[in-house]
Structure formats: C-alpha cells, structure tokens
C-alpha cells in the first residue's frame, strides 16, 4: 500500500476532485442493458426516442457503473480505499444518451476517524456527473473508508 497518492489525510472537507471524462457509446449501452436491464429504451434507438428518455439511453445502473469507473480512474485505485458500506442516495436526474460525453466532480462533504479503528477514516462525498451541455445527469452521495497514511506507512 505504500506510495498510494490518496490516504485519509489527503481528502479535505470542501475540496473538489475532477473525475475526468467518459464518452458513452451506443454499443456499450446495448451491451450493458442486454445483460442487466433489457428494457426497450436501453436497447433500441427508435424505442428510446418514443420513451420519456428521448433516445437510446443508458440504464441507470450502467450510469452507476460508469461513475464507478470514473472514480477508480480519477483517484480510487491510487488510494488507501477499504471499500464502501453503501450509497446514501443516487438520483438519475436526466437521461444519459448514446454519444453523450460525461464529466464528473466529487466534493468532500465531511470526514471523521473511526472510533474503534483509529487507522481508518470515513470520507463522505457528493458526486455529480454532467453531460456535454453542462446539465447534471447523475447525483450520488456516499461514504468511503480509507486507511490513514500512518496505517500504510507512507
């Protein structure tokens, strides 16, 4: 674990982290939906246009998975993460359509050290994903667990 860029101490309350960008392709929308969410608006352009979502749209669960990948690539894989016990809330605010480019921002809301395990801390974050028009398409709040620098000897 030594050498990880992000430990508990590195998350500052109020700080924002850039999640990079991700282009959403029709092919991956259909691939994910075929396995997990085989509703017509996630499988077929025409069916998507006729639905509330207005086009071939990613399953909300696919958007969660894309968020996770953006989080991994932005900092999680270079962190002392010990996983997360859950997700407080997710809002699928607008449809994510084939051809959209998502960007993301993760803001640290609060942090605290564990009382029972002082080498572990909880970091609460709020994440938003935006489309290429700057519209918020996805919101998520959760708390992740991270080891301290001292715990990993860095």
């Amino acid at each position: 674990m030594t050498g990880k860029k992000w430990a508990y101490e590195d998350f500052e309350e109020g700080a924002s982290l850039d999640l990079g960008s991700k282009r959403v392709t029709a092919e991956e929308i259909v691939e994910f939906a075929s396995e997990f969410d085989f509703q017509p608006m996630h499988l077929d352009e025409e069916a998507g246009r006729k639905s509330i979502l207005g086009g071939l749209s990613a399953s909300g669960w696919h958007t969660c998975a894309m968020f996770m990948r953006m989080l991994c690539d932005a900092f999680l894989l270079e962190s002392t993460s010990q996983g997360a016990p859950g997700v407080d809330m997710v809002k699928w605010r607008k449809s994510v359509l084939a051809g959209d480019t998502l960007t993301g921002r993760c803001t640290v809301l609060s942090k605290r050290l564990s009382k029972s395990r002082p080498q572990l801390g909880f970091v609460s974050m709020r994440t938003e994903l935006f489309n290429q028009r700057g519209e918020t398409v996805f919101e998520l709040e959760n708390t992740g667990m991270f080891l301290t620098r001292e715990a990993v000897g860095a």
Partner: protein, 152 residues
C-alpha cells in the same frame, strides 16, 4: 382489483437468483470497477475482503436483471396495462456482506406504496424495497428504489 393489489403493496416477491461466476465477476470489474479484490484471486485473498468478490454495482445490476425477468401479476386486472417508465433513483443502498465468486444471490422486491406524480399528470411513482440474500440466507444487499408508472 385495486392498484394496491396490482402492485402487490406490502408483499415480498421472490424475483429469482443470479450466480456470480468468477469469470463474470472479473469481466464486470475489468470494465467498471477494476479494484484488485474484484479482479484477481491472489490480490483478493490479501485484501480486506478476503477473497474474490463481485463489485457492489454488479450485485445491484443483477437485482435489476431478476426484477425484469420476474413475471408481473396481471390476473384480475381489467384496466389498461400500466406502463412502467424510468426510475428517479434510489436511497439507502447497503452492501451488507461480500458476494464471493461462485455465490448465488436470490433477489426480492417489496412494493411499499405509490402516489401521483405532480410534475407528470397520469403518472404515479411506485416505491419498492429491494433485497438480495446469499446461499446461507444472509442479506448481502438492500436498497429503496422507485419507478414511474403510467396508469390510465
């Protein structure tokens, strides 16, 4: 038959099961959640989770698969078939126990209630509790979700 009957308010429905084969666990993780404990057996054994286990998002997505695969009851409903639309989101998702590679999770859905949606006349919002249990009967995942339903 009332809408409460149609939606089976308060009734826990078993949706089906999903087995998390090791190769599928790794394939999902490679695309969406490439943390070592979802990708590699040896790395996983040395991790906090103690063995190769499915991404929490994989466990959640498999609920949706089983939810869609479960037959919706319509016997006795003589109105137009309600049309299910998108979901506005979910709350209070908890991953209560790791789902190790090879494990089978059985999913359930319990409809909690429904109300008119002010912003979209003709549509209602149905709230549901989702749960998943492993082969020992331990709950591994739970969340509260919602879905828009158009009712004539």
């Amino acid at each position: 038959m009332t809408l409460d009957d149609y939606f089976q308010i308060g009734v826990t429905v078993t949706l089906g099961s999903h087995t998390f084969e090791p190769e599928a666990v790794k394939a999902f993780a490679r695309k969406y959640d490439p943390q070592p404990f979802h990708m590699d057996e040896a790395a996983a054994r040395n991790s906090v989770l103690g063995g190769l286990c499915a991404s929490g998002w994989h466990t959640a997505a498999a609920w949706m698969k089983c939810n869609l695969g479960a037959h919706r009851p319509a016997d006795g409903w003589d109105g137009p078939e309600p049309e299910f639309g998108p979901s506005p989101g979910f709350r209070n998702l908890r991953w209560l126990k790791p789902v190790y590679a090879g494990e089978t999770v059985t999913y359930t859905r319990t409809a909690l209630g429904h109300r008119p949606l002010a912003s979209r006349p003709g549509w209602r919002i149905l709230t549901v509790k989702a749960e998943g249990f492993d082969s020992t009967g331990d709950k591994v995942i739970e969340f509260e979700s919602a879905v828009l339903v158009k009712v004539q």
